[in-house]
Symmetry: C2
Subunit: 256 residues, 2 copies
């Protein structure tokens, strides 16, 4: 597994708050580093940035690279239970445990000041990881996330092959279902930005309204910002990146 | 031919200073837009940004895509004189005339506040275009430019096929040779940033010292900044992008 790290100047003098970024379908550990334009502000705020790949690669599973919506580049940040995927596709544990521990052991990341964010499929991953692990991830945000993976075409297509037919298992990887099941606040706050010219929004892949309704019903604080004219790409992300970095920096600074 | 444009908010209310960016070998009109991280500051400074492709594409010339150093993605911003390239590979005229006029006709670009900059092969192109056309380009800068194309392997390989054997023709597309021939100031000022961990610097492809010597001898103002630890990629460029945008904005604001 490959990952990318940006260390701010402040990391030369001590440990610093750290953000994990999860990319979307077809992305890699380079996507965020090359296209999001986050480093300049992160160097000012003193944030260490980590980005990982979106799936295992070259596992030898037949057809793993044949579909941009499933398999290579499309791991959906879950632990697959169905063969042959279950042997390799364990991105949930990888991000939460293996990668985090490697980062903490190798870089000056403050263990109790970790945040997570992502885009699209990576926004889904960030929300799910933060909602299920609030003592690990102290701040969370997302750009155009897949809010309810078990209720959209992308998620259903992947979940049936990764997780099998039982939709109860799917709910563990669906941010909206997690909030509905908890019926309480799971994380201090969620920030989501969504472009209104996003074709995947129109296709029903993202479902931010379901997230908003679930958060309202459960008392989960959410700021959902909707932006006319913006689509699903990294121009959208880079436009609002500073807001997300400032949001995380403030939240992580407030961790007592 | 494809190009990309970023319009700052100020362009909604009147014409604005405009920068043309020329990408390096293997680049396209998307390289700058996706990787340089220039839009945020350009939106504050009120700069319109234009980036073009690095060569014609799909011309039908045999082998045009076979070599990353020559042909598709490697037009060297010159007017080829040798068949079969001379029919299509006329990037010098394209950038200076066709693209500029199209931009001026289609976007609120102030005609007498145009600057040009670029990277590597595109830095070569920016320097040559600015030195030969100081009344068109009022400011110029470059990241790790090929400073003396006729005296490096990249340039020699391309020039002999594009321009033929006569090195007198090559000198028209060599920034150092243009300054040496003029023996006077050709443009108000040149800003160049160069990373000292750049492998192409070590290979002798870039030759910034030749530029510095020629500028000193000719009285051409130059700021050559050399940065330890930086290599040839867009992390280097995005790190110093703000300095270049501020430099151009100030120079173009001063045009009377």
């Amino acid at each position: 597994m490959r990952f990318s790290v940006f260390q701010p100047p402040q990391a030369q003098h001590g440990s610093v708050p750290t953000l994990f970024y999860l990319a979307g379908l077809t992305g890699s550990e380079e996507t965020f580093a090359t296209k999001a334009g986050a480093q300049r502000l992160a160097s000012q705020l003193g944030l260490l940035l980590v980005s990982c790949d979106t799936s295992p690669r070259k596992t030898g599973i037949a057809g793993e690279e044949d579909d941009w919506e499933f398999g290579s580049g499309a791991g959906f940040y879950l632990n697959a239970t169905q063969p042959p995927w279950s042997k390799f596709f364990r991105m949930y544990d990888y991000v939460r445990d293996e990668l985090r521990q490697l980062i903490l052991a190798s870089f000056p990341a403050t263990p109790d000041r970790l945040g997570i964010f992502g885009h699209s499929m990576g926004g889904h991953g960030a929300l799910v990881l933060a909602l299920r692990n609030p003592t690990i991830y102290r701040s969370v945000s997302a750009f155009a996330p897949i809010c309810s993976a078990s209720h959209c075409a992308w998620g259903r297509k992947a979940f049936v092959r990764f997780l099998g037919e039982d939709t109860a298992d799917w709910a563990q990887y669906d941010a909206v279902e997690l909030i509905k099941a908890a019926q309480r606040q799971l994380t201090p706050h969620i920030l989501v930005d969504q472009g209104l010219a996003d074709k995947f929004l129109a296709q029903g892949q993202l479902l931010p309204q379901s997230l908003e309704e679930a958060c309202t019903a459960a008392g989960q604080p959410l700021t959902l910002r909707q932006h006319s004219g913006y689509d699903h790409n990294y121009y959208f992300i880079s436009t609002f990146m500073a807001d997300h970095l400032n949001y995380h920096a403030k939240a992580l600074a407030a961790v007592r």
